[in-house]
């Protein structure tokens, strides 16, 4: 499996970009010990015009490069944590619905549909508006709007796996139903979940950026979306203020998507598009 993944150039590029972003995020406090909020120079300095400020300064004279590095922290953290929370909600719900069927399935799926009928982004905005906009509440809001697809995926996978004969064999071995679900069925649904999770991190980063752009981000956290939001009024005079965070978002999301595609091809070789060409 790793061999197949490694031979996928796109996926390896994705991994390289993601590692770079992670490295920048982790090293941000070392490179810019003063944090992203401190004013360092005159405002509106274009990139490369002053030594030590390769990406220039923003409307208040803060270092754009430092903001980007700290923004990476926020984006990755929100993306990762919200995905984990979404999995924690979606996987058990989907698994139970798919495995037990009947009214359990009906109940769980109607509950899921309830969340799916409300547009994702609108719900996220409402949730953040109700809570205080802190990193925790934003993460939770993103998780709450992104678990339904997980539940549906896991349900479908579980439904197909539970009809396989080894599940009957486990029943005959006298294993209890919950134990069969956990030890026999769920391990066989892991690969599509991993693939979906990698793509969900990307979606979560986009959602967080969009929320911050609208000014619903955590006011104490520097994020890429906040940077673009703050720069939108001066976009014609100082293009670099929105351009660089934009590029950062594009690269990170692209990297995660490439990794997701690579994982998909590696874990489900039969569905690989390359084999059919």
């Amino acid at each position: 499996m790793w061999k197949r993944f490694r031979s996928n150039i796109g996926a390896m590029v994705g991994v390289a970009i993601l590692l770079a972003v992670i490295l920048i995020a982790v090293c941000a406090p070392l490179i810019y010990p003063h944090g992203p909020w401190q004013m360092v120079q005159r405002p509106f300095l274009p990139p490369m015009s002053v030594d030590g400020l390769p990406l220039g300064t923003d409307t208040l004279g803060r270092n754009v490069a430092a903001q980007l590095a700290y923004g990476a922290q926020v984006s990755l953290l929100v993306g990762l944590v919200s995905t984990i929370v979404a999995l924690l909600i979606g996987v058990p719900l989907g698994a139970v619905a798919g495995f037990y069927g009947n009214w359990v399935d009906e109940g769980a799926m109607r509950f899921t549909e309830f969340f799916q009928t409300i547009p994702n982004f609108a719900l996220a905005i409402v949730l953040v508006a109700i809570f205080e906009p802190t990193l925790a509440s934003i993460t939770l809001a993103i998780a709450i709007v992104s678990w339904p697809p997980v539940a549906r995926l896991v349900r479908a996978e579980v439904m197909s796996v539970r009809k396989r004969e080894f599940v009957d064999a486990a029943t005959l071995a006298g294993l209890s139903r919950p134990k069969i679900l956990i030890t026999q069925v769920l391990p066989n649904t892991v690969s599509p979940i991993i693939v979906m999770a990698s793509l969900m991190v990307a979606t979560a980063i986009l959602l967080e950026s969009s929320l911050s752009f609208l000014g619903l981000g955590d006011p104490n956290a520097m994020s890429w979306g906040y940077m673009i939001g703050a720069a939108r009024t001066v976009i014609r005079t100082s293009w670099w203020l929105s351009f660089f965070p934009g590029i950062a978002i594009v690269l990170t999301v692209l990297a995660l998507n490439l990794i997701g595609e690579g994982l998909n091809d590696a874990l489900n070789p039969h569905l690989s598009r390359k084999g059919r060409a």
């Binding site: 080894f166 064999a169 005959l172 071995a173 294993l175 391990p187």
Partner: protein
Amino acid sequence: MKKPALSIENLSIGLPQGADRDFAVENLSFAIEKGEILCVVGESGSGKSMTANALMGLLPPGVDVRGGKARFEGQDVLALPETDKQAMRGERIAMIFQEPMTALNPLMRIGDQIAEVFAAHNRLTTPERRNRALELIREVGLPDPEKIIRAYPFQLSGGQRQRAMIAMALALEPKLLIADEPTTALDVTTQAQILKLILNLREKHGMAVMFITHDFGVVAEIADQVIVMQEGKMVERGPAQQVLVTPEHPYTQRLLDAIPTGKLPQARPLGTVPALEIKSLRKTYRTGGGLFKPVREVHAIDNVSLSVARGEVLGLVGESGSGKSTLGRTAVRLVTPDSGQVLVGGVDIAALSEEELRKERHKVQMVFQDPYASLNPRQKIISAITGGPITRGVPRAKAEERARELLEVVGLGADAATRYPHEFSGGQRQRIGIARALAMDPELIVADEAVSALDVSIQAQVLDLLRDLRSRLDLSILFITHDLRVAAQLCDRIAVMQKGKLVEIGTVHEIFQSPKQAYTRQLLAAVPGADWQREEAATA
């Protein structure tokens, strides 16, 4: 000498790197004459289907023709450009496949699918196409052609679908028909009909047929010429009679020996203590049923009573849909019956609650049909076998020791324990399945088509194992199969089921030599190669 319809010279088909051998087919040469049926026989992985796919230009990616020629109507079909191949497919060489369900487009009416063949080759006008489709449907013996032409594939039975496939293949009067295991997925009686149809059509159209099969019984029924393949190489070739009666190559001999013959084993004295008693069992499936639709009822088991004595092997034989599998699943209570009793060692399994049942589960175990689906791919062999005993409270160390012992018993060796299922072949997986069932010390084992998915030589080995276990461990087995020949080899008594009802039950000798019911006689007559084996038994 006649000019052959197809002659293949030194065909070699290469496999991608990392496969278990370099060539799928190596240096294969043969010829089929006009109006001749050539059977290509071999076990799975022998390269017989690859040969057919190469002729049709349907090789999977990574597999390619490395050399050789296939002369058909003066052209080398392997060297034709793709557009010419496309014109040739269907028009002059047609193919029918093993799985009639997946080979037909589920969203297209049968008539349209046949008409599409004409459309693809720009023949006839639309109304003519329809008329011709009707004619073809009539020719392949489908009932009620006017209705069939408007039917979707899912509305037809397996045999009817295969007939529809044949109608499509015949549409443009091909010179060569390639049939890739066309009857493997069918019941014996249906298989007999389809084989007869192919024989008739050959007579009428004079086309050459390349018939791929693994079943020597089928070979005996229809072949003029036979080729035996082993691991990509042709090991024997000759007229059918010669290959079947006086095989020269040891591999052919081995294959022929492995065929479950109609020869009946010695009757054994049977115990009288019942291991399993089934009393007036009923199970009805209800489907559909809405406001305006009537409920469709299928009586899967209709008032069946039978018993399996301790140490006995009872064969449960029937065609698909006869309810034999449902009965087997009821015996282990994977299915709960509507009424009736399933007594195992005096306890009515059918009446237990979920909790009580879990404690009694170990008494009846099952060996499943599909060796690839019956083992959890993410679980090591040892935990697959010990899972049940450990749940029952056997200490882990003891359960593992016993599992290793059992792996030895089924002929795999204790070192198999720490490996994963994908490292084993189909036959080996079936042995693991048997070990798993034995680990529970059951009173009865239900084997549901346990050898049906295996090649003949592997099938013979697993049957040997079951026979050996039967005498060594005094096992009681309910052996479910669609193949009377297999049942004859292992069973003491045979029960015949049809449409949920028990038609006849008796010792193997009674069933084979003096069947009382018409249906049993029909089943016996439909066994492919029945005549050939009778001759053989007479001469032996």
